[in-house]
């Protein structure tokens, strides 16, 4: 049991060191701009269909639930506002974060894991390229930029889904729906909640990169790195969310 705790603490220490190194390396040259843009496309643009479709479905479901709840109190008129606040403040960022920890986390863990076991990371080093900068920092920067943008897409498609459900139920017009929805959203609802997803992006990229570049035991290890990337980054993301919500409430009390 003690050995297990020691091993766990060692892993936490190594992971924290890796994250700190990533933060420092982000601001130090050389900047791998071309590779960062490539990662932004691979991790960001290629995630748009997943996020857009999920957002739409979440919006529809959320709208149906909100309707069921508010109808009990005769407050159906508040549905657009309720849905917008719920989506923008919490549902959108957290759902996008968890979905992306699945798509991006698994992808980075598997890709870097495969590169490790096939000596491609050694090959990069042998041609005098810093693999940490080239593989890890580029992915971290891409995720920190992409996740808030993808969250915004999820919020937008979520609102559209909510509108679709609402117009199907009541025939409400697009302008009426969005006027009511946007009237309820303030700066303090949207910006801090969206920006907190930069931390989600950082967690996803750092955790999956760390597990990827430390892969051992061949293809079995690659599978394990991929799975653990999703599990660990999802757990850390949920825990970090609690902390971040607390911080946001401190600066912008409800």
């Amino acid at each position: 049991m003690t050995a297990l705790i020691v091993r766990w603490l060692e892993a936490v220490g190594r992971g924290s060191q890796f994250a700190f190194r990533a933060v420092c390396a982000m601001f130090l040259p050389p900047y791998e701009i071309q590779e960062t843009l490539r990662q932004l496309f691979e991790l960001g643009c290629r995630s748009v269909p997943l996020i857009a479709v999920s957002g739409l479905a979440v919006g529809v479901v959320l709208s149906m639930h909100t309707r069921a709840s508010l109808a009990r109190f005769g407050a159906e008129a508040l549905i657009p506002a309720g849905l917008a606040i719920a989506l923008v403040r919490e549902t959108g960022p957290l759902t996008a974060g968890l979905l992306l920890s699945g798509r991006i986390g698994a992808g980075i863990g598997a890709e870097l894991g495969a590169m490790k076991v096939t000596e491609q990371i050694d090959a990069l080093e042998a041609v005098a390229v810093d693999p940490f900068k080239y593989l890890v920092v580029t992915r971290v920067v891409a995720c920190v930029i992409a996740v808030p943008l993808l969250t915004t897409i999820m919020n937008a498609t979520g609102m559209l889904g909510g509108f679709a459900a609402e117009t199907a139920a009541t025939g409400m017009s697009l302008s009426a729906y969005f006027t009511k929805a946007f009237a309820s959203i303030q700066f303090s609802d949207l910006i801090p909640a969206t920006l907190k997803t930069m931390v989600f992006g950082f967690i996803i990229a750092v955790v999956s990169s760390y597990l990827g570049v430390n892969t051992t035991q061949g293809t079995e290890g690659v599978g394990r790195a991929s799975t653990r990337s999703v599990v660990v980054s999802s757990i850390l993301l949920i825990v970090a969310n609690v902390l971040l919500v607390r911080i946001i409430f401190f600066f912008y009390p409800a």
Partner: protein
Amino acid sequence: MGDEAPVVELRDVTKSFGHRRVLDDLCLTVARGHSLCILGRSGTGKSVTLKHIVGLVKPDAGRVFVEGQDITSMPMAALSQVRRRIGFLFQNAALFDSISVGENVAFPLRRHTRIGDTEIRSRARDLLGQVGLGNEYDMMPADLSGGMRKRAGLARALALEPAILLADEPSAGLDPVTAAEIDALLVDLKRRSNTTMVVVTHNIPSARTIADQFVFLHEGRVLGRGSADDLDRNTSPLVKEFMRAQGAG
């Protein structure tokens, strides 16, 4: 063959992975323009020795010198400068599988030279042509056979015209004709560019063609060294058995 100052030197290098000692007080020197072939059975530390020379593995004890510079605890920036003068062919080629074969070869040129795109592509095509892959520039590494990957790996290793070439089993997985062509390419490279080579191979006929010095490793220690004839005359049963088996093969 030029001056005899060692270009590559391993001084009392010891390395363990876990409880397993892979290299045990290993000493090696290779002078400029010479070719050293490391022989030995599988798992005797041959590939690990190569990785020490390019700084991918750090010794637990001992020092590694490349062109007179101690790379054992060298900062990353300085080590990168040393690495630019070394070409490394990995055992399984280690091609970057997200880019085409041609871009793999062009990669070191794009990173470390200021040559234009057209010239880089032209050089990469030339290098691929030298290893018999002139038409495979746009193919992805996953679409190549093992032998073709190996040849592409060699082309990438030669891209920066290295002063030192480290090759881990360059002819493994190749048909005899292609293997002979690769051997001829390495011999020609040594003759033309005075490239220093350290080659790991199990193929004794190939080694006799490429190398002028031999080292036989067993459990991380040198059991025999010298010319091919010296190894043939070695009295160690392990060396004798290896040379006889390979000679018969």
